[in-house]
Chain length 339, copies 4
């Protein structure tokens, strides 16, 4: 079917390629003329402005946005002035589901369907397909089904879940209409919250194995250092972490795609020397914990994963200083210098 894509960064461009391969008619626009030209050579119809893009589409139109969250809002506003009743906007980026709810209200006032689509797959999506979590009105979601079906990985991407019979549902193909506006980004947000926790879980476990040789090292013996109670139980100073990650990939309960990637990273750089350990976060993890708090639902792991990212960037420094100061006050404990 005909679909327009706005935003031709790594994600947007690859999605256009996947759509083109499957025979869809793709109209594309980006602030970078080069990005547009590149995809024109691969078979897309390029446009030099939003206005030109919309003008080239047949009603009812569908314009998919793949933009940084900070720009999406303004682009939606512009688009709403260009589109007609019955058209649809799809926000496939990393917007907050709250923005979806607000924007869908505005769009609905003009009879434009606003569809939010959480997209997982990253740099691997062109090859593996994208996992799509969709929210918004039935009218648009139904109409866009061929696009979702092409972008999604398809039913063969995983063995069928035992007990499922009959025609595969959309979820089994890798895309899901989760609910009304925002539901797609809500589910994607929680997906990312889980992702943070899965990553941190492997990281913590590998760190414990890395520290298992604590008893093989000479122990510091001063009043400021808790001694290792049984050094003989911590003799493992040579466990090969890359091999550990590798062995867990086969037959174990902790196998996952993230483990596959961890194994690859450790194989390439066993000490991870190229990294400083400054872990960024892009918003969804924060929103997930905030949602848990507002719902009154406990989420200790998801929040701990988020906090470990903050801490990796030094957010706890002042809090640590407060504790050092308290120790000096009540016990005369002088801080040990950083070694």
């Amino acid at each position: 079917m005909q679909i327009a894509m706005v935003g031709l960064g790594r994600m947007g461009a690859n999605m256009v390629r996947r759509l083109l391969r499957d025979g869809h008619e793709c109209h594309v626009y980006d602030v970078s003329p080069d990005a547009v030209a590149g995809l024109e050579q691969e078979g897309a119809h390029g446009a030099r402005s939003l206005k030109e893009l919309v003008a080239g589409l047949a009603a009812p139109r569908a314009v998919w946005l793949m933009l940084p969250a900070a720009i999406t809002g303004a682009t939606v506003t512009q688009l709403l002035d260009l589109l007609s009743p019955g058209d649809a906007i799809v926000d496939g980026g990393n917007s907050s589901y709250r923005d979806d709810i607000d924007r869908a209200e505005v769009a609905s006032g003009r009879d434009v369907d606003y569809v939010d689509c959480g997209t997982s797959g990253g740099v691997w999506g062109l090859e593996r397909g994208y996992c799509l979590m969709v929210g918004g009105p039935d009218r648009a979601v139904n109409r866009l089904t061929p696009v979702f079906a092409t972008l999604a990985p398809g039913v063969d991407a995983a063995p069928r879940t035992p007990g499922r019979t009959g025609d595969p549902t959309p979820a089994e193909q890798g895309w899901l209409h989760c609910g009304p506006s925002g539901a797609g980004h809500f589910v994607k947000m929680v997906h990312n919250g889980i992702e943070y926790a899965l990553m941190a879980a492997y990281a913590e476990g590998l760190n414990i194995i890395k520290g298992a040789g604590a008893g093989a090292r000479p122990q510091e013996a001063d009043a400021e250092t808790a001694p290792l109670r049984d050094p003989r139980y911590y003799p493992y100073d040579a466990i090969d972490l890359a091999e550990v990650a590798e062995v867990w990939r086969r037959g174990s309960v902790v196998g996952s795609w993230l483990l596959d990637l961890t194994a690859e990273a450790l194989r390439a750089d066993p000490g991870l020397e190229q990294f400083t350990g400054r872990v960024s976060d892009s918003g969804e993890g924060r929103w997930t914990s905030i949602a848990a708090i507002e719902e009154g639902v406990s989420a200790p792991l998801l929040t701990a994963a988020l906090y470990s990212r903050f801490a990796s960037r030094g957010s706890e420094l002042f809090a640590d200083k407060v504790q050092s100061a308290q120790r000096l006050e009540f016990g005369g404990h002088v801080e040990k210098p950083r070694s």
Copy 2:
């Protein structure tokens, strides 16, 4: 090769079957004569006592224990009186790696090799193979390589990690000699600690989605209840969790074997009505957090996962009562009745 198996429960019996299929000569013993008889019919050599078992083996012997942790120690003691220098004991159960270190010292005094083997795979191992994490002396581990190779899933169980070339390592086949005595169970212990956290991460995320309709329900309005600040942002009272778990299985970053199982469980019983939510723990998660603490390594997620299991069994009740009592004291807050 020739191998003896002691303990023919679900795990031990299936491991014997997998070994028999691959042509190994299996001698078996269990306190239950029925269990022994069953495997004799499948081709194993049965024994009516540990003594008879050992007597039937050619030196250097290898006796694999697949026993509840509570019985393993006594069985090792008995075996050490029956075995000869150069023989080997393999503990494939869920022993603490500390027991391995202690037992290996004793065995070493008699020139018997003590091998610890953490085994992941559960009820799926017969079909999928077992992920084996092995610790102990080279002599025995080298000799037992054919057994490990048969029990492990094999290299085809997962796509090869990019960048790995040449002959697959044992880890790529699904088994790893992690280090000296206890190293196998240590790595298995951490594996289980990670497993707890992965499970809890999915559980928390699904719980947040389940609570996303908080704004669609009438709000309690009393001084003891924090009101939902923006009910309009929590309208999602009908997201299908089984479909969410299913869609994440294809193309997303959070795909894993545990997610596959979660999707299956939710498909079969979408509300999980058959469960009361009392989550057991079998020791390794505790030991993992203790190891982190003794090493001086932070493990907030792994410990949070453990604590959530404790809490699921009511361990926090008294602590909660203390807080209710404090609130009554300082603010005159009367506890809300359980609804």
Copy 3:
């Protein structure tokens, strides 16, 4: 000085009493005529409506609101129509500091000063005085200094901090102008977040002591229960928690007013049998964790305290069921029944 109080619940009425005692001229209003009448008998000037209240005051006026957060907004809107440029509104309740920022903007448009005042002290404030955390424009805060000084506990409420010399600052008297609009409620919000954590810290510690007899009880021995590794180290089944709380009150590092209250609660009801352990939360703890998340600052304890309150009300039930379901799937573990 002249001050009006709107909202004569426990907090508001006691604050009026404390002001009257110190010679202030108090004008009072409440939706309950009885509440008004009661304070009239104690020397306050009663009003039967907001309009009448405002009419009785000399400009520049000061109207202090001591209302449930849910009603404050509407009352502010009404008041703004009655007040004149140069007047001041003080919100002494538990509003979100975000509402202060929004309302102060509106009030500022009419040249009315909006002052937010976080108030700690609860049912003890009449006697001990109230700790006041104030935000808003200097003009109003300076004018209201006599009122803050009366309500605050005064410098004698605690020994002077070593190193402080000269005239006591307002903070030393128990009230502080924290910053612009919302700063008072922001500091009060964090204060409550800390309060939650202090409470939970004592609760957890006492719970660990309560469980110290785990080794003195018969151990469950089944595959679903992790056995206590060294029962001999958990023989303490008769430690008197009320006496423990009492002994910590003198000379220890953990002495605090919350500990005093805990000791009193345990003295009165050593098993805390009257409580079910359902711990409410009134909003500030949630907002504190959300602030930490939005600032990108790690706050593991404050959030854990909040989550333990959610969990006390059953918020984790579904997450626990997910984990039980996963265990059944991968290991055939059948849930233990609740005992």
Copy 4:
């Protein structure tokens, strides 16, 4: 009464002084002759060896050890060879309660009473008195009551808990016989676990206030940085933390001795510039979390406080690198450089 003190560091020497002031006959020994000589000048009886110390005492003897945990065990062994049936050893240091249980068994075999005494008070104890948590046999604890009573702060150190009548209990005087051997150090251990959490709670809260000006600073805008959603709600870049700590000291719910010390530290050095934030831990916090885990009791705050200390010393670095590596693998996210 007659009492011997071994170990004349800051704690031991001050305890001798407090005992001398109250008329007790103190015999003292330390490896440092200067330490002995100093206290001889203050009225103590000095000894040049353990043997000489014991020889100078009348049976039944009482020898109090105030030694680093690492030395206590060897000293007990030496003492047991010098003491007679009916004598008593008191370990007033920071030993693990597990060592108490083990040592008490040995001592009991010689009819020597082994008393463990957790001691809180630090550098302030000489003036404020020491909070004493005692475990061990009644015979010795009863005999030593005058010593405990002198060392403890006394009933006037805190207002009497409402509802308590009649003669003050020992707990009301600041010392408590908690139970059999080890019970004293067990309660002291949990006390320190709580202490860690109280400290971290204040530290986290102050850190959130310190970060409340996040919206007043220019925002980073790149794909690796989650933007602050509502900068207008984080304008507070000038809240005076020293004054905040001070105001909380009077009339608020979070008042405590640790807060008093925090206020003093912030007054002396508002930015805590003299500290690097490397927070040591001395063992009890670790043991408390381990006890919680072994009991199967959830202790999220106490463990989070411990982990924050580990993290302050860099224990999470490798785990953070793992997460950066994973992000690079799945999303092509290049780590932001440390600024």
